[in-house]
């Protein structure tokens, strides 16, 4: 079984400093995989490489076993089967409806079908009544829900979440986490989540990869890592980070 996403010997430097020093990992279909680690270690970088936004300096990113070069038309086709939700919702200056419809417009979907799918996605995140309002005038939590709907409506094979609840209050965090879980249940997407919040990782992830000093110190089922890690550095990291 070829995993939908895999990294092979991936290295990446920024400004002379080597951030990722050889990452090897495979992400199974339909699982929620969390990448955790200290701030600045390269979690977001890894996500961007997986979404083909940047290219690794060496090594390969494979999607269903195939590797493409970033910037090629094949890369764009691949990226269109994935979607990302970032820390800042970055809504467009348009209505909620138009924001959620954006990805569908890009793919040339029939307008009537767009209507149905968009309203469906809005209902899923509880923003149906706000469909005609300007997205950039809503609260942070509501905008992040829009960002979620905008990505979920595309039914991507892989969904990337980059600190997607970092700026939200607990109520909205809970709501979006529920949405992620339900989305995975119903749409079957593979989900890769980057978070500095280990409690969130514990709540959501099936498997976890701990990124320390540019390498994956440990990869395994969430329970195993959080409760019985075999690696001293990982144990030290976990105990330090889970103080709050």
């Amino acid at each position: 079984m070829i995993p939908p996403l895999s990294l092979h010997g991936v290295r990446k430097s920024f400004g002379g400093k080597e951030v990722l020093r050889g990452i090897d990992a495979g992400i199974s279909a339909g699982e929620i995989f969390a990448i955790v680690g200290p701030s600045g270690v390269g979690k977001t970088t890894t996500l961007r490489l997986l979404d083909l936004l940047d290219a690794p300096d060496s090594g390969e990113i494979r999607f269903h076993g195939a590797s493409v070069s970033v910037g090629s038309p094949a890369a764009l086709d691949q990226r269109r089967r994935m979607a990302m939700i970032m820390q800042n919702p970055s809504t467009f200056r348009a209505t909620v409806f138009e924001n959620v419809a954006y990805g569908l417009w890009l793919r040339g979907v029939d307008p009537r079908e767009i209507r149905v799918r968009v309203f469906q996605a809005l209902a899923f995140v509880g923003l149906l009544e706000a469909a005609g309002q300007r997205a950039d005038r809503l609260s942070g939590g509501e905008q992040q829900r829009i960002a979620f709907a905008r990505a979920a409506v595309l039914r991507p094979e892989v969904l990337f979440l980059d600190e997607f609840t970092a700026n939200l209050d607990p109520g909205n965090v809970r709501l979006l986490e529920q949405a992620v879980l339900r989305h995975r249940r119903e749409a079957g997407s593979t989900i890769v989540i980057v978070t500095h919040n280990l409690f969130q990782a514990r709540r959501l992830a099936d498997r976890v990869g701990v990124l320390l000093e540019g390498r994956l110190a440990e990869v395994g089922p969430a329970r195993d890592i959080f409760e019985a890690s075999q690696t001293p550095e990982v144990r030290a990291f976990l105990s330090g980070e889970m103080a709050y």
Binding site: M82, M86, N88, F92, A94, R107, R150
Partner: protein, 216 residues
């Protein structure tokens, strides 16, 4: 021709000439501006600087150049467009395009990088992102168009030289004001000036309304 009918004809021609030039300026200048703002290509900085320089291109100079172009002696003389409204539109379009382009470039460059990333993750290619960025910057683009129109409707050098201020055919508000002033008909000139100001004011009032309505 009675005075009122003549004034109406002058106003109509002003709006038609300036309006057509602005329309063409938008159709050409906005996408071009977005392209220059977003796409990497060799000589890009040079082109950008050039666009901004042509902002302040003297209308009289544009008029002179188009005059030499359209004169029978000139390269496009066979068309016979000198002293006609078409010639005036050509001259004004050359003035409006840099304005729309320059202001569009500024507006589009102000669109956040983060938004580009977001669009990419949702599957946008470069062309689709350019359209998106233009849409994000639409307030700036509409302003660019309004400023372009303001420039076109109130300039006098280009339309005077290329049009010839021919009564009933190429006389617009600005050239009529010049004529009336040269003949010391100051009252008539002022009235025409007030009408001209009224037009410019109306255009920007519409812009305000659009902004308020949240369309932009």
């Amino acid at each position: 021709m009675s005075v009122d009918a003549e004034v109406l004809q002058i106003v109509g021609l002003s709006l038609l000439v300036a309006g057509t030039s602005t329309l063409i300026g938008f159709v050409v200048g906005a996408p071009l501006g977005a392209l220059i703002a977003l796409k990497e290509f060799p000589g890009r900085n040079f082109v950008r600087t050039l666009a901004f320089t042509f902002y302040g291109f003297p209308p009289v100079l544009a008029g002179l150049l188009v005059f030499l172009l359209l004169s029978r002696d000139g390269p496009l003389g066979a068309l016979g467009w000198l002293f006609t409204p078409i010639g005036m539109v050509i001259a004004q379009t050359f003035l409006v395009i840099p304005i729309v382009m320059g202001l569009t470039i500024s507006a589009v460059m102000a669109v956040e990088r983060r938004l580009h990333e977001t669009a990419r993750t949702l599957g946008a290619d470069d062309r689709q992102w350019r359209a998106t960025a233009l849409h994000e910057a639409r307030l700036g683009v509409v302003t660019a168009v309004m400023v372009g129109f303001g420039r076109a409707v109130s300039e006098v050098g280009a339309v005077l030289i290329v049009g010839g201020n021919i009564r009933g055919h190429t006389r617009v508000l600005t050239t009529a004001i010049v004529l009336e002033t040269s003949q010391a008909h100051y009252l008539e000139a002022t009235v025409l000036g007030v009408i001209l100001f009224g037009i410019a004011f109306a255009v920007f009032a519409v812009l305000q309304r659009l902004q308020g309505r949240g369309v932009l």
